[in-house]
Symmetry: D2
């Protein structure tokens, strides 16, 4: 694992990495908290044991709804990306698609997958769901790229397994994961067969190299800062993973050339992951709304009508995201595999809203916070005996509120609006689970536009009324 050009020996205690470990840890904490247990744990349909919901395969729409509520709760508790839903969403998508492959092709992938799932559940593992390839020139297909490795591919099939080469980028939580679950990133055609590959391997498998992604304001974590971090305890994590000729034994291979199942896997994974954002981003939104309401109070303007109006708007946008997360869950359905899938149209609607509303919520928070958000001197100045007193004196807002609280709250808002938290709350909201254009394409596909035209024609008196035009949702 590399970071800032150096190999990191002990990632867990590295000041840049540690806060991201803390965030993942909360996914374990809530499972042990009786108040959260109902959301944070589930009963395994395989073993009947109580398991962490992050390792669960959804059995019904209640499970889907609980997932969204769990993610909102964790967003509220951490204020960042806690990195564990990608794995959960991978497991659920694979449970459906391996089943369908076996049904259609007579393969044995589902059986393998179920064994793997038990392993994950029993050991309560964190899985990294690795889908996105580097993609090179985006106007070309995998097999057309100048460099054939720009999408991860099988370079050798052996009796005991496969050897792969390539890379997966934007890998949230990769360094904090026990397992890496690889999936293809797009529709594949026959000529892209070698790129249709899915498997799971331990994250310390030979040949894996991690390069840690740098983030806005990451160096503050090396400053021995507390106030200036805004959110000192938690952060997210992104890395690119290099697969430098990695061997995968057959029992961990879930797709190897069945290119026609590449799109179904992408499609299901994306649907689940677009649902996820209806939970976690609403949770981070709650934190930012709370921070905006708090700083308004500290500034002495908590009751101004224009401030209250902005906070209502922030809540409105945030709850709209959440409502879409709930709706695509409540409207889910059980697939033949037994796994319950979200409503794909509505989960895309959810995500497309997530590519918009957090940005407006941030803008409103920045409006409420005031210019001090970016002109505030450092924590070190505040703690300096000579000049700290001036900061204490002159940066005081409401006289009941310590200046330090005001500084802390501004730094939290800075964190989410342009610092470490902005990665998760804004750019991940935009591109995680697919960029907005991907959602637009799915919405176009999922909507029955021919039928809507027919509705209009019937009312406009065009064409003969067909016998069977009632559609029931």
């Amino acid at each position: 694992m590399y970071l800032f050009g150096e190999k990191v020996k002990d990632p867990v205690d590295h000041p840049i990495i540690r806060p991201s470990v803390n965030s993942v840890a909360v996914t374990y904490d809530v499972a042990n908290d009786p108040k959260c247990e109902d959301l944070a744990t589930a009963k395994s349909h395989l073993t009947g044991e109580k398991i962490n919901r992050f390792t669960h395969v959804h059995q019904n729409t209640r499970d889907l709804v609980k997932k969204v509520k769990l993610l909102r709760l964790l967003g509220q508790k951490t204020g960042v990306c806690f990195q564990r839903c990608v794995g959960m969403d991978s497991l659920n998508a694979l449970s459906i698609v391996t089943f369908e492959m076996d049904r259609k092709l007579g393969t044995k992938y589902y059986e393998r997958f179920v064994e793997y799932l038990k392993h994950v559940q029993e050991n309560d593992l964190v899985c990294c769901g690795a889908m996105t390839d580097p993609k090179g020139d985006r106007s070309l297909r995998p097999s057309q790229q100048a460099d054939p490795d720009l999408y991860l591919r099988i370079i050798e099939q052996r009796h005991d397994g496969i050897v792969v080469r390539g890379s997966k980028v934007h890998q949230t939580g990769a360094v904090n994961s026990h397992e890496i679950i690889v999936m293809p990133t797009r529709t594949m055609r026959r000529e892209d067969k070698d790129y249709a590959v899915s498997f799971a391997i331990p994250s310390d498998t030979e040949g894996l190299i991690y390069i840690y992604g740098r983030q806005s304001c990451d160096l503050r974590k090396t400053e021995d800062a507390d106030i200036d971090l805004g959110n000192a305890r938690y952060s997210g994590q992104e890395a690119m993973i290099i697969f430098d000729e990695v061997f995968v034994p057959w029992e961990r291979v879930f797709m190897a050339g069945e290119y026609e199942f590449s799109w179904p896997l992408v499609n299901r994974f994306s649907a689940y992951h677009r649902q996820s954002y209806g939970g976690c981003k609403a949770g981070v939104g709650d934190v930012l709304i709370g921070a905006a309401a708090a700083i308004a109070e500290y500034n002495g303007v908590g009751k101004a009508s224009h401030i209250r109006n902005k906070i209502v708007e922030m809540n409105h946008l945030n709850e709209t995201i959440y409502a879409c997360g709930i709706a695509c869950s409540a409207e889910g359905h059980k697939t033949l595999s037994g796994t319950c899938l979200v409503n794909i149209l509505l989960s895309n609607i959810c995500k497309l809203n997530v590519t918009r509303f957090p940005f407006e919520i941030v803008r409103l928070a920045e409006d409420i916070a005031g210019g001090l958000l970016v002109t505030l001197p450092s924590e070190k100045d505040f703690k300096n005996p000579e000049i700290g007193k001036y900061m204490s004196k002159y940066l005081k807002g409401d006289k009941e509120v310590p200046t330090e609280s005001r500084l802390r709250m501004l730094r939290l808002i800075e964190n989410i609006s342009m610092g470490l938290g902005a990665i998760g709350y804004q750019i991940e909201s935009m591109h995680g689970a697919g960029s907005p254009q991907a959602q637009k394409i799915m919405i176009e596909r999922e909507v029955n536009i021919e039928w809507k035209k027919r509705l209009a024609e019937l009312l406009a008196g065009i064409g003969k009324e067909k016998q069977n035009d009632s559609k029931v949702f």
Copy 2:
């Protein structure tokens, strides 16, 4: 009943009124259509009989979800307001509040109400839910108005019933209803006691006067037009009702002075009615989206990327509305009365989106339709032998599509964007079930902002961590 300054003898066959009757009729048709039966009917929890869902009191969240789907279906079938949900929402709100009144005050309202509900269910009645008073000067309370009748009030309590005077305005479907269910329109204080009144009466009760509201393009219905109406079969209906000293027998009185229950009734009714719009407006949205997609094709630009992008956006906005309708339903809960209530926060979120998105959907439809939408000569010109040929020739779009179809589709879009349909799809979306500011006030009330501040403070390191800060949604 008055219309255009004249008393109308036969409303049903009046050309202005008839299309609004047709819309209500569809609420009966779907109940008899096996394809729609599951949505359009329910089993009465009182009698066990199969009843029209519009007379049903929701027993669980599935009922709430089905309501939304039924309303979307009817919006799709009629393209207008079919006027029957206000009554349904009144019945559900009264079922909760009469129960609560009895529990707290020892009254017998719930019993009365249940008898009334049976009557409605057995006879499959259309009820008009009459809440909105004229309100006069909005900065004054009911009892402060220059004219005490500007809110409907009890002017006499008799041994056999009460006598009321006042008016209810914006009464959707009033002239098409069997029953008028009156409710107070706002919080009342002790001094407004006489205004805290709820009851049900047949719509032909003595002393009731209806004045029919005029609508954009209403006179086209008197022209013997077909094409120019856009939606020739269906329309909505609004009226103001004058209560000119109307007597109501006690067995139909559900509130008479219990002012502290005025707000709970308004609140529950509004919550249900704000949910409704997540269904019906999405249904009308479907029609308009279909119309936009059709006219684009007729114009020969159905595949242009900017057109497709706009149609995706229309669908996105429309499904967001629907998702909020589903979410507030799926997150409903059973009240002590046994009636299932929607999630109040989310139903307000739903409605606030409805005050925005249909306007943008209309704007996009108008963009796609082109200027002909408002420069098109009349149907009479088109049918005139001398000049009709010029219109046929010059207004031809795609050569496979008859010019008449293009005219019809444009008139349908005109109908929804600025004609008869715009009343329901736009202004009702804005003000029905309360204007946007009412939703903002409710959102402010329903959101736990103190707790969100606490979330922010915990992450920012402000204050001590309290023992019990996990909240589970």
Copy 3:
């Protein structure tokens, strides 16, 4: 001239048409009003005489700015489209392009045009600028259409002139014009040569047929209504014109086959006309903002903070439109012909904002107006002795304001938001001077994106710094 399937003998006194005549009349009135003279008149650069600005060819940027201010003033005075700018914009565009044609091709068009312009100025004529062809299947070029007449074309060249056939649609003010100035509607190629035609003819030339466009709520004008019209005195006008083999003498022909000058003419005309909307629509916006502020007061909520906030927003959007109109004028430049042309990029920016902001201004006005906007009974009811008293009593708002004033103001808002005024304020804002996609294409063309990339590369340290990278606006 046909209207509702009948030939109209006396258009001027026809109740449907009359208000549109009144609007044009105001363009004469202001020229005689000493307070408006500076805006409404100009000194002819040809004759030195004082002329109506609508017949003027802009000599400098002050002229361009005054044009915008004049149009705003007229929008304020009429609340509708006063129909005379299209002609002014045609004259200005032709003054540039005929000059350029002569310079390049050695033709004599400019000379002819100047003679014509003198005629227009001396007689203070209203000109209809006729650009938009029916276009048929929009994915096909003029010469590819199934029917070759779907774009207006020369069908015969004679010694004394040309004969044309075709139609021009969406012709604002056509029936109120003295002259029809025809221009091509798009880029033409060699094969579309016959479609590259421009000329001017008196509006009563043989072979011209007008079919009057119907408008939302047009029939109210036949009702003997006053209140219900909202804006009883003024309205706009649209018509389609049929050119049924019309002869044009050479002295009035300004283009006949010079296809390579079709786009320059369209481009200049569009630029001027997109500027126009920065004036007139801001003027109508002023009326609607005033109406919203007035109805808020009549309702007793004029001082509520959410109302004031909405009115500020309406003003903000309206002034942004105006600012763009001013900017593209102030940044105009003199062409070789001596005519001053607007800044083309900024006039497209202006118009693209006009396709958006009036819709939001309307939505806010509808929000402020309240539901009564569409549930109000008719003027006939109000004047009916039996029920008018109920309306008077129950529709009273602020006690100092007569109920009739409230009705009148609501009807004015209805007029602009969905009635007769909505044609001009909304759909014309969308499609007049070209639909939004046309502006987007122009913005893409006019912006120097290569140079912006270079700015970014310089700062990012990509490539060598070129010697000459300063660009001055």
Copy 4:
């Protein structure tokens, strides 16, 4: 001067500060560049000498327009805030208000000011315009604060000058300035007399303490980074200034207790400064638009229709800002002092758009950039011999573009969207020259709403037509 808790000896070469010095330097470079001279210099109305425009007092609307164009040019060249307009705006505002004070009060401030202005022009000084006080509890006036120093005030008047105490916060470019020009920050009443104070002092005056504001990603400047900075050469600068009993001689005092001129000064300064943003932010917008277009190309999707559509939208928003800047300049007017003032309404419109559009431009840039924007490993990784090759291989986009260029462009976008550049482009856009609510209040004041109501009433037929209702803009 303090930074990170330490006194800085040599600010100019401090790695955190140096890039902000570079930005100011460009304001001198352009004055010496013959291509920019017309914008960057002016002829002093006092001395007739050629001076840097930043020291000029606007003599006509051409000067105002050139100012906007100069600022756009500098925004394009630096991509950040170049810090020198605040001083220019202060000088212009003072030139008007000192003149008005003298006229009304018989004081000699204008004379003093003119002497000072000559000094600034002759020495081509950078001035920091210091207006914003810390403000403490914003619901209280200056004299009501718990600590009387929370607004800067005169604590002693002496025969030779005044002594002041307090602080000015958010001081853009303070450390890079030769002079500090202090102005009051709001309307003052008689009881706030001591707070109505304006003066100019050299930035190294005794008693001045600067505490440097920290910024998002500031530490990258200490890393010896080049690529990772995005914009390695330029940055902005913010500081808080402490006035620890500072003496100001009378010849540099421009207001000392004349509280009724506090608002006129704030109002004029704000108007000029809100105009400024119509230039500089459009310039930075150009850089970001260019960066988005470039990265789209590097990614191989430069021609995708959805990308082109987004870039058009970015340009549209950016040019709207610029148009407002131009409009408020072109509509400026000469005051009695001889200084030309912008149109106040339109400059507030300009700024209110600046609080919105850059945020959407950023959102679109982030959309186009892709997720790599925040998952990219560091420059040190890229330059590391072991893993740099993987980054080179796998982060390659279009095969003609070096991977390093892609990294550089992404870092530039990161800089403007959430790094060092975001301070100037986003938060300064929001709060600089006053927060959005301040603009809304000014728009409400500047708009003649009574007259707009009258326009509506005239058209609606309410009240008698008054003789004199034409207003000419």
